[in-house]
């Protein structure tokens, strides 16, 4: 009855993990329960809320809709991989400073959706920002301070050439 475990290699935040997973387990569950990366939040497990957003080869995906076995061979970025060398990413810094975080449950997914946007489009206008995070629900902030934080971070990232090259 029980499906056999499958050994896969997951590359998360530049680190390879060889783990045995249940084939029906989602990436979200494996990240949280097997790799201890609990920054990825589960709000609905149906792909509706965006709290579990991670980057798969730089593109935002709902990790509750991706099976862990499907994520093999892809570069996965979780919220734990956003800060580097103990320094908050400019997006994280902007979220902190602008009050874009209240309960914080949407924040990891929101930040990664914003990162994907800025990597793709360093100078988004407000409409493009709102569109990019429209799959990430937030019940606390009314989104305004999130939008302001992303605008601010975009300015700072593009004003700093070195940072602008970040992947």
């Amino acid at each position: 009855m029980k499906p056999a475990l499958k050994v896969i290699n997951l590359r998360v935040n530049h680190t390879d993990h060889e783990i045995a997973v249940k084939p029906h387990h989602t990436l979200a569950r494996v990240l949280r329960e097997q790799l201890g990366l609990t920054g990825t939040k589960i709000g609905c497990e149906e792909g509706d809320c965006g709290a579990c957003t991670v980057l798969l080869d730089g593109r935002p995906v709902s990790s509750c809709l991706v099976l862990a076995v499907q994520a093999q061979g892809h570069e996965i970025t979780t919220i734990e991989g956003l800060a580097e060398n103990g320094q908050l990413h400019p997006l994280q810094q902007a979220f902190v400073e602008h009050g874009a975080i209240q309960c914080g449950f949407c924040s990891p997914g929101m930040l990664l959706a914003a990162k994907a946007l800025l990597d793709d489009n360093p100078h988004p206008d407000e409409g493009q920002i709102r569109h990019a995070i429209s799959g990430n629900l937030c019940r606390c902030t009314g989104y305004q301070k999130i939008v302001e934080a992303i605008q601010d971070a975009a300015g700072k990232l593009s004003g700093d050439a070195g940072r602008g090259e970040r992947s």
């Binding site: 809320c49 979780t78 009050g99 449950f105």
Partner: protein, 802 residues
Amino acid sequence: MSKPQVLGSRAPRLDAPAKATGQALYTDDIVKPGMLHAAILRSPLAHARILNIDTSRARALPGVKAVLTPEQTPDTWFGVSPARYDERVLCREKALYVGDEIAAVAAIDRDTAREALELIEVDYEPLEVVFDARQALAEGAPQIHPLYPGNLNAEVHQEFGDVAAARKLARVIKTGRLESEMQDAAFLEPQAAIASFDLHGRLELITSTQSVHYIQRAVAMVLGLTMDRVRVIKPYVGGGFGPKAGPASHELIACLLARQTGRPVKLVFDREEVFLHSRARHKFFHEMTLGADENGQLLFLEHEALLDGGAYSSFGIATVYYAGSLLGGPYRLPSMKYDGRRAVTNKPSCGAQRGHGGVIARALFERLMDELAQELGQDPIELRLKNVMHTGETTCNDLNMSSLGMRECLEAVYENSDWKLKRGRLPRGRGIGVACGFFVSGAGYPIYRSDTYHSTATVRLLEDGGGVLVETASAEIGQGSDTTMAMIAAETIGVPLEMVRVVSGDSDYGVDLGAYSSRQTLMTGHAVRQAAEQVRQVVVEVVAGLLDLSPDELVIRDGLVLAADGCELDITDLRVRYTREHRGWSDNPQQGPLTFREASRLAYLERGSIVATGRYKPPPLGGKYKGAAVGTSPAYGCSAQVAEVNVDLETGQVTVEAVTGAHDCGRAINLTSVEGQMQGSVSMGLGEALFERVQFDPRGRVSNANLADYKIPTALDMPPVKALVVETNEPNGPFGAKEVGEGAIMPTIPAILNALYDATGVRFEKLPVSAERVLAALKGEKLPDEANLGPGFCRLPPERKD
């Protein structure tokens, strides 16, 4: 008082870095050794007698460690308020709604627990159901809950002033109706709990809650434990908005399964369970008549309300009182009559949600204000300004506005929105509307009758000097209360915010009633301030003693101990003493004034650990009439909003294009957080006005129990919200502060409804105002759910369709 150093700033929240990096732990992020996973079997029927539960196949499933059935649970009623303890951990005789808890399983993992649920066989005898509150109260309706004959859960009949006499004087009288739908709080973090017992039989419950204190009491009562053997811990919480304020079956189930198995047990809701458990916004029916004299001065309000409560009471008794009492202000209203009833139905239970009880009533009242203005030929803002209460006035139902910046809020939105440019000048399809509201700054009384303090706090100076630790059982649920308490402590003592650490949300830290009724800033803030002031005094006394000064000759400012008169102090001996204790430290203060770090170390050396406690309880409040407690508060926040809408006349699609809001929060502790509460309130109100509704199929099952079909606003639905912080000095608040978290939602729905009228000429009587509803209205038609919207609709049962 000298100028605040910390308060009124835009200090970043203390918890933001942890939340931005994924390090902040929420309940489901916590793992305990040997932990089991639990799942709940829920009734598939809306009303059914439980004849038999066969768990043998479930127990036989490998990995299953325990199956909890009703007879294994204490036969103890619990709930929110003792007069309406009407729930038990698992259903005994009957299930009362689809989702009611029947049994539970603990297993080695979640998959196994869920698989086991499917192996539990329950024989049900289906009973007659009733889903409509009016039908539930009609003669011959099936009896739902044994405690509520005729399905009447609560009724309120109040009259203040002489409404009949006032009616005779009125020159303009407006009557209206508004019916809403049950709504969901849609917080992002589903409920979760982890229970474990230690070898001494002490229970630790980690849970996503708004009130560790209320949960601790319920758990102790139901499990038959003394309070000292129950510790409730609230980690970070992913939003609450009301439904997480009361004790819930799943918390008790986790505790009972932990007791049965001797292992930690985790129980996490899926999103559907969030909808089924609900305890969120009621479905309201309101009918009101509002009268004014020829100048537009309000004279009376007659108000009838019916609340569809679902199966159990939850906070619903408070809700039905709030639905009446929260109309007493913010206008001078000399007389008011209120008849409210709450019915039980075979649906999920409703309870408290942001703006508890007052939101839909406020929406209708503010619409009638607009109708009065229209008939009198007055600008809606002008009519409101004519009627607003001022600081120091008391409502006809005995609520004292110890500070009230209502006029200032209205003036602020008038000046800062496009009102002057656009009101009365917009083409069809575009509209602008205004509304006001007010809300308690913490409930005046606990939810159980008690002389308890509402908040206690402990402030401790770390013995090695330099750190301030604030301990409180208050609940940081995302609103920012930890940062608020840190700022209050820092301001009181005179140290930078970075020196303060807050630990909270743990019943071991004292009593705090938690995060509901918009109460943390005022009530916990008082307790923290009081404790912090005492530790400040000790430090000052010790330093003064060592310097041969009197304590009032010293001040602490920005982490430095200074002479009050600005002279330089000779602190050489004190610094030598501190430095001698810290040989090898590289960062000992070398020059300049005495630091707080040095001073607090010296205070410890003289006095031992410097610890102080603070406490707060509101003074006796309110009138003597039945229900007078609900609506009382030491202070009231108030707000005004202007909303602009665009209606697509072809499709009925409504877009809210701008909202300008002003809120009087007393003295703002943290401006960024105040704005955040205002903007978040607008988003919840906008969703409730335009698209949020829990839908049911004919068998009483929630048919949109997910966040795709239950629509909450996305970033694309939200307009820019201009948040104007209006500051008054609240005499009953710590540093003049009062609430913002709930009050700011009050004007949103009516401002949008009034703007919709401006755009379309339609007074919508049913929420949410979906595109379909707008389109039907534009064609002069009604949707099927508007068929019963006639006079007396709160009382008359609609035609049954079965």
